[in-house]
Amino acid sequence: MEEIHTASNVTEVESCIRSNDNSRNLIISSTIPESCKSQPCVLGIDEAGRGPVLGPMVYGTAYCPKDNNEELLKNLGCADSKALTEKKRDDILDSICKENAWLGWMVEIISPNVICNSMLRRQKYSLNEVSHDAAIGLIRKVIAAGVNVREVYVDTVGPPESYKKKLSEIFPELIITVASKADSTYPVVGAASICAKVSRDSALKSWTFQEGIQIENNAWGSGYPGDPVTKKFLSENIDPVFGFPQLVRFSWSTASKILKEKAVLVEGDEIDDEEEEGENKKTRSIRNFFKPKADENVESPVVEERHAFFKERCLQVCETL
């Protein structure tokens, strides 16, 4: 079971993020309001930082008793987090935290390293699946904490119909609504989007490089591939062997294209490189490096077959280097 950290204001969220190992995921939660255990609740889910090439993706959920929730949440200013300023979002999260008698929240900060590792596994695990599983995980954790969840509102990832079907199969007892732009339609999703966005911004801004590199004025920008500050950061922070620091999502084409141009070649039999299909595929397979060179001028002598024991272990008699 993953550890769940508790925070009761924006400052605590920030210090929790800073003290965590940023190559791993982090779950932060409010305390669970007693009223959410006794009364039927609505729960909203939204995400922040799905598109950027830098930093974590954050899944957020907010929940509260169903009665009168829309008006109470609107009074707090819960709306689409993207339409608000950063300061305003911080203030609203603090307000959300102050209403802990009836309003709870939880976020999962998915490390950029975990995103890359997932997407670059042997068995492809798409960003959509990562997202769905994060949402499912949050619902499970909130229910496990004792919250009486009845209705779930989710901002869609991929086609809403199949996502809704997936969620309904896992949670048959819940009424599930999956919609695009749910964060502006349902205040409880708006609240979730604020929790997610504040955490995402904080994690990106306060990133400490375990590689020990220092960036003046923390100038890596928003992380969106189109941001000139982000572009500059990417082109100036390349290690020829290891590529980028782990703030960067290697699985984004923006990142892999830069590495292809500016870092040393890395290849392996089992790494898929979809962009190299067809005519561009000029690079040799790693196996070629281990094949003995055929000497065309010499009539090939009768070579005694090595015993399978040695062949399987790649053992050869070494007389020259």
């Binding site: 670059l120 290891f242 590495l259 890395v266 790649c314």
Partner: protein, 138 residues
């Protein structure tokens, strides 16, 4: 062509400081690399199995520590002059020694199916075979 291995006994007997990583890729680089900053700093025991976890350019790696068998030593040699022709004289110098390798697979637990792990069988077998020959009465 002749090959000379220059073994400095100080280096041979020095405490084993080098950490050697076997990577599951061909990396087109020969020279120093920022291993401790970019790689070892993220190396940690896995939470789901008893392997080691690390990443290389975002790729998930599974690793295990392989000890050099008792009575043996791992040696690292460097060649200072690039050799030109086939029959040039070649000089290798002992750079460091090691007693374990961290062996990495790409998203797959290291096992006896990996050549490097099973290759060490030969050390025991070769000893057994040699003893047999040495004890032979002629």
């Amino acid at each position: 062509m002749s090959i000379t291995l220059n073994i400095n006994t100080d280096v041979l007997e020095s405490p084993k400081t080098s950490s050697v990583h076997s990577m599951p890729f061909y990396i087109d680089h020969d020279g120093p690399a920022n291993v401790s900053k970019y790689f070892s700093s993220y190396l940690k025991p896995s939470s789901s199995d008893n392997a080691l976890d690390a990443s290389f350019r975002g790729l998930p790696l599974k690793g295990t520590s392989i000890s050099v068998p008792d009575g043996f030593k791992g040696l690292i040699f460097t060649e200072t002059n690039q050799h030109q022709a086939e029959d040039d004289e070649r000089n290798f110098f002992l750079k460091d020694n090691f007693n374990k390798i961290t062996y990495w697979n790409y998203d797959k637990l290291p096992s006896k199916n990996d050549a490097i792990v099973s290759a060490l069988d030969w050390i025991h077998i070769s000893q057994a075979v040699s003893i047999l020959v040495l004890n032979q009465q002629w």
